[in-house]
Amino acid sequence: MEKYRINPNKGLEFGIYTLGGDHLPNPATDERISAAQRIEEIIEFAKLADDVGIDFFSVGESHQDYFTTQAHSVVLSAIAQATKNIKIASSSTIISTLDPVRVYEDFATIDLISKGRAEIIAGRASRVGNFGLLGYDLQDYEELYEEKFDLLLKINEQEYVNWEGGKYRAPLRDAHVLPRPLNGSMPIWRAVGGHPASAVKAGYAGVPIFLATLGGPVSIFKRTIDSYRDALKQAGYDPAEFPVATAGFFYLAETTQQAQREMYPSVNEGMQKTNGRGYPKQHFAQGADKRDVMNVGSPQEIIEKILYQHEMYDHQRYIAQMDFGGIPFDKLRKNIELIGKEVLPAIRKYTAK
């Protein structure tokens, strides 16, 4: 766990992520803030999270309409400058359509600016606007990811890189990749969806996973995590050395009903615009059940849900998505306050050793 800067004795880490700086209208007013304001608010959001002692903050890239942080590493460097203690990462970096050397240079720089707080979470993209935009062929979706992720891991391990045989990039011979992160290397995670197949690949490769868990029973995602740990074992790794992080919708209000009322229109209309299908009300209503992964409710209920998830998954980090679909900033501020005051102390009390 040390390699990934995780101290299990401190208990479950709590983090926040923004998908790709989604830039959606507030469903109540149908008005959309400017891109400049959205980015400014994301940086402010990270500062507030840092102030109350939240462990982690990440920003993703998504290259289509209704997003603002396509250049996510640039936004992360601003966050690195504006914060003091919080870990910062991508969620995720679409390594398939970027050059791993350049990504490493950027994130190593962010690690230096932040004094050793940067991490990379590398994903494959669910929406694929980046392929056409950055000049890649969607047909190579799988191979691009595997090749470039492999190179990224290698750069992290070796300061002088020898790498060849790639289909999508010229070979590297004694290539000196600089700057190096503060402590020589950085945590690099693989982003995976709900299905076990991708998690199993991460297990065979011996890399930690970030698992997206937007909705549905905890027990289903537990299977994916179990498959991942089995794959680690089969490949000769010790699962105790590899952290697991889960990510999903989160929203707090005084009562569950109020939280649902404030969050549902954003999730439904946001999903409709970014994914092409809304979130059925019936499923959202079931999300309040303790056995469902969605953490939308009163602080007390959400503490219980997170602890239940921890008991089921034995994971090391949970990251919350609460800024989706044009949620106004004052609500985010209120959420951060509640997390700092109620959620963090309770989670740490029950999960720290």
Partner: protein, 188 residues
């Protein structure tokens, strides 16, 4: 109510003739409904490669977005080689999982032989069910002998289409009412 009628083949005229009669019936009897006819022969649609439908461009995006925005869909399909045509299957493949949830879907099927009568039952309905459609259980099956020079000549076939249109509209309204009632209890 947004209704999309699909002529699911790029060859021949019978399916187009039958679905056009359904569209005409809708426009005459339910002028408040908003009907769009998607004749796949008029579009250049690419094969599904697994991406989200919003990531396609041109006709592929236009056709899938039109279908996704519908409250009700009337699918017109011929039977080729004892199945639905690949052009129609591709439309389903382009759409997301559960794409037809909260949509009512009905079927008008044309075929060259009576032997194909159960094809929609056994091949089209399972796809619609998997995609979570509310399916109008009865479908209209019309044989090629009932067409002459791009007209339906069998009054019984015309009556059956009229009933199918009525059932589609009634069920769409009914399911909307049921859903509104069910969702009202959530209070969010």
């Amino acid at each position: 109510m947004k209704v999309v009628a699909i002529a699911g083949s790029i060859v021949g005229s019978k399916t187009k003739t039958a679905i056009s009669y359904a569209v005409k019936t809708l426009e005459e009897k339910y002028p408040e409904s908003d009907v769009t006819l998607l004749d796949l022969a008029e579009y250049d649609i690419q094969f599904s490669d697994g991406r989200n439908y919003l990531d396609y461009k041109g006709d592929t995006r236009k056709v899938t977005e039109t279908i996704m925005a519908a409250d009700a869909i009337i699918i017109g399909s011929p039977i080729f080689q004892a199945s639905i045509p690949g052009t129609l299957k591709n439309i389903f493949d382009l759409l997301p999982v559960n794409a037809l949830e909260h949509k009512v879907v009905s079927m008008i099927v044309t075929a060259g032989s009576q032997k194909h009568y159960l094809i929609p039952e056994q091949q089209l309905k399972p796809i619609l069910g998997y995609m979570k459609a509310q399916v109008v259980q009865r479908y209209v099956f019309i044989e090629d002998v009932d067409f002459y020079q791009k007209e339906i000549t069998n009054d019984d076939a015309l009556f059956r289409i009229e009933r199918l249109v009525e059932d589609t509209v009634t069920l769409t309204q009914t399911y909307q009412e049921i859903r509104e009632k069910a969702e009202a209890k959530y209070d969010f």
